[in-house]
């Protein structure tokens, strides 16, 4: 299941939901808030989502992964709101009979989530500037101080 949360992600609870006796492999990914980006020192960031479509698209990606790879279960949780450096922004978990499919499905899911789920990130820097990420190529984009 794909879900959004305003609270810190409860990793143990997430993993438990993926345990099946027919699975020999569990692979997970955690995306952490990094302290730097493109030469700028990050102080914190904010995630915002178009909830209804993010949930639809996220769940669609998980369904794709289940069709594409021999996995048993897959789940993804994305944090929203204010996050500090070091916090977990996104978690992906996959369980499968064998590890190769689990690794590939996990990578597939996070790559697709980053590409197509309507979630936006605004980074704030230690010099008090801020910018919307991936809008760097947009006309007239600038880092706002």
């Amino acid at each position: 299941m794909f879900s959004l949360t305003d609270s810190p992600i409860a990793l143990d609870r997430c993993k438990c939901a993926l345990i099946h006796s027919q699975c020999g492999a569990y692979v997970s990914f955690e995306g952490w808030v990094r302290d730097h980006n493109a030469g700028l020192m990050v102080s914190h960031l904010v995630y915002e989502a178009y909830h209804a479509l993010a949930l639809k698209e996220g769940n669609s990606i998980l369904s794709e992964a289940k069709k594409k790879f021999e996995i048993e279960s897959a789940s993804c949780i994305h944090r929203l709101g204010d996050l500090k450096v070091g916090e977990i922004a996104v978690w992906v978990g996959v369980s499968a009979p064998h590890r190769e499919a689990a690794f590939k499905a996990c990578q597939y899911i996070i790559d697709r989530v980053k590409l197509s789920v309507p979630i936006w990130k605004k980074e704030y820097y230690v010099d008090n500037s801020h910018q919307w990420i991936n809008c760097e190529h947009c006309k007239h984009h600038e880092v706002i101080s």
Binding site: Y47, Y50, L53, E57, K114, S116, V117, P118, K121
Partner: protein, 80 residues
């Protein structure tokens, strides 16, 4: 004349100064609608930098808009 709702997120919300509005338009396609609001608010994005959604589904730019639709223009995403 059609009456629709447009929702704004992220940078579009900041530029428009609102998160949604009821909007009256006589245009037919979602592409034409974007041109109309781009002019109104001075949005910086071109079509190829955005996606469009109607009623919580991604749509093609040629898609016709209907009375009562909820339209969202989606700036470059950055989840994960």
């Amino acid at each position: 004349m059609k009456t629709i709702t447009i929702e704004y997120y992220a940078m579009l919300q900041e530029i428009a100064g609102k998160n949604k509005e009821e909007f009256k338009t006589s245009v037919n396609s979602v592409s034409e609608l974007y041109q109309e609001i781009k002019l109104k608010y001075g949005f910086i994005f071109d079509h190829d930098q955005l996606r469009a959604a109607i009623n919580d589904q991604f749509v093609d730019w040629k898609t016709k808009i209907n009375n009562g639709d909820i339209v969202v223009f989606i700036p470059p995403v950055a989840g994960g």
